[in-house]
């Protein structure tokens, strides 16, 4: 059976305001979904709802056609979440951070050092994460995705704080993931450039 992430009739209110209503999407391996829209349009909320961090007003997110409220664990096993908060401990080094995270989710069979090298982090392993720049911290968060075996990547503004080289790196990493049969949902308020067909949802 091929994996599939889908959602239908997704509706979410924040206070009295309707962020989105009757939204649907379906994602197969190798596909990318871009969430677009201005600040405050509900991109992050939609991502958080798919990640299971936020309760939807109505509608269901399905992983392999099984509704999430029935089996949350199956999706959590197959998913990794990159929030705008990097989720790293400033006092620990990036190796200590990533070693702890490795115990939290299934890990891919990749070499730790090669991932760090790919992201240009291999010289920073002994520094506490606090002393890294915001852009370097985003790269450590990317390492989290590359080290996990998760099929679904949920990314909230992955290119924030990154220079043009960093943005290219994110695009390349995402493209590599999709080429390996992964899926990604990315919220981006600026254009996210990849050379492949993408699905788009525009939120107002």
């Amino acid at each position: 059976m091929t994996a599939k992430l889908s959602g239908d009739h997704l509706t979410l209110f924040r206070g009295d305001r309707c962020l989105f209503k009757g939204l649907r999407f379906a994602l197969n391996p190798g596909e990318l979904l871009l969430l677009e829209g201005p600040n405050g349009s509900g991109k992050t909320s939609l991502l958080r709802a798919i990640a299971g961090l936020l309760e939807l007003e109505s509608g269901t997110v399905r992983w392999n056609d099984i509704p999430m409220h029935r089996d949350r664990l199956a999706l959590q096993n197959a998913m990794v979440w990159m929030s705008h908060k990097v989720g790293l401990k400033g006092d620990l080094t990036l190796v200590e951070n990533l070693r702890y995270e490795a115990a939290l989710r299934p890990q891919a069979e990749v070499e730790f050092a090669s991932v760090l090298k790919k992201l240009g982090l291999n010289r920073l392993t002994r520094l506490p994460v606090r002393s890294l720049s915001a852009g370097q911290q985003r790269r450590v968060a990317l390492a989290r995705l590359l080290l996990s075996s998760a099929m679904v990547w949920l990314m909230d503004e992955p290119t924030a704080n990154l220079d043009s080289e960093g943005r290219k790196l994110v695009a390349a990493v995402v493209q590599g993931h999709l080429a390996n049969g992964g899926m990604a949902i990315i919220a981006a308020h600026q254009d996210f450039e990849v050379d492949m067909p993408v699905q788009r949802i525009s939120l107002q």
């Binding site: 620990l92 995270e101 939290l104």
Partner: protein, 232 residues
């Protein structure tokens, strides 16, 4: 390999890694551990100065004062239990990870106890000397504090989880926790007083032990639910 075989290492390795991480953080920022400890030592050391050096009086109030100081010191450290994880986003990473959240909540409580409850128990003999409490009674005092602080770490994690999303939730946290912490305080302090007066110790310790097990079975699940609500 069945799916259960695969699930088991996850269940243990996630919480273990979290305890190791929090212990590492406590070592890198010793101030977070020492603050409540200094508070405990200071409150307890000020009483003999204020009350006067009468041996009889000090022995009478000693257990109660030490217990109240311990309870307040635990409350002081509880506020930050989930705050840092909430602010830097690592709490979200725990929420979306496949490791069961109650297991991670239990690990947070364990790490909290190791960095606040245990040191408190260990410095108690030194403080007890200023109250001229005898060695055998000091032993009982440490035992009640050992059980009591475990309960408080578990109970406190529920309150800390409920108030983590609020700004300045400290007062609310105390209001939520204190009523449920009262039995621990009453039985803890009274047991020590009774032993000092020559009574038996078993009843009080049984109660404190039972409270630990009640909290062990309830608190991790309540904390997990509270964390999900606070993070919406």
């Amino acid at each position: 390999m069945t799916s259960q075989d695969q699930a088991l290492p996850d269940l243990l390795s996630g919480p273990k890694a979290l305890i190791v991480r929090d212990a590492l953080l406590a070592l890198k920022r010793p101030g977070d551990v020492l603050n409540p400890l200094f508070f405990f030592a200071m409150v307890a050391a000020l009483f003999p100065l204020a009350v006067g050096p009468s041996e009889e009086q000090l022995q009478l109030i000693g257990p109660g004062v030490l217990w109240v100081a311990a309870l307040l010191a635990m409350l002081l450290s509880l506020n930050s239990l989930f705050l840092a994880d909430y602010e830097d986003g690592s709490l979200e990473q725990m929420l979306v990870s496949p490791v069961p959240l109650p297991a991670l909540a239990l690990a947070k409580s364990a790490a909290h106890w190791l960095s606040s409850g245990l040191p408190l128990v260990l410095v108690t003999p030194v403080i007890a000397m200023t109250y001229q409490i005898s060695l055998s009674v000091t032993g009982i005092l440490m035992l009640t504090l050992l059980l009591g602080t475990i309960s408080l770490s578990l109970l406190g994690s529920v309150g800390a989880a409920l108030t983590v999303g609020l700004h300045r939730g400290t007062a609310l946290l105390s209001l939520l926790i204190l009523p449920l912490a009262m039995p621990v305080l009453i039985f803890g302090a009274r047991t020590v007083s009774l032993v000092a007066a020559g009574d038996g110790v078993a009843g009080g310790l049984y109660f404190l032990g039972a409270y630990v097990f009640l909290m062990l079975s309830v608190a991790p699940f309540a904390t997990a639910t509270a964390l999900r609500i606070s993070n919406e």
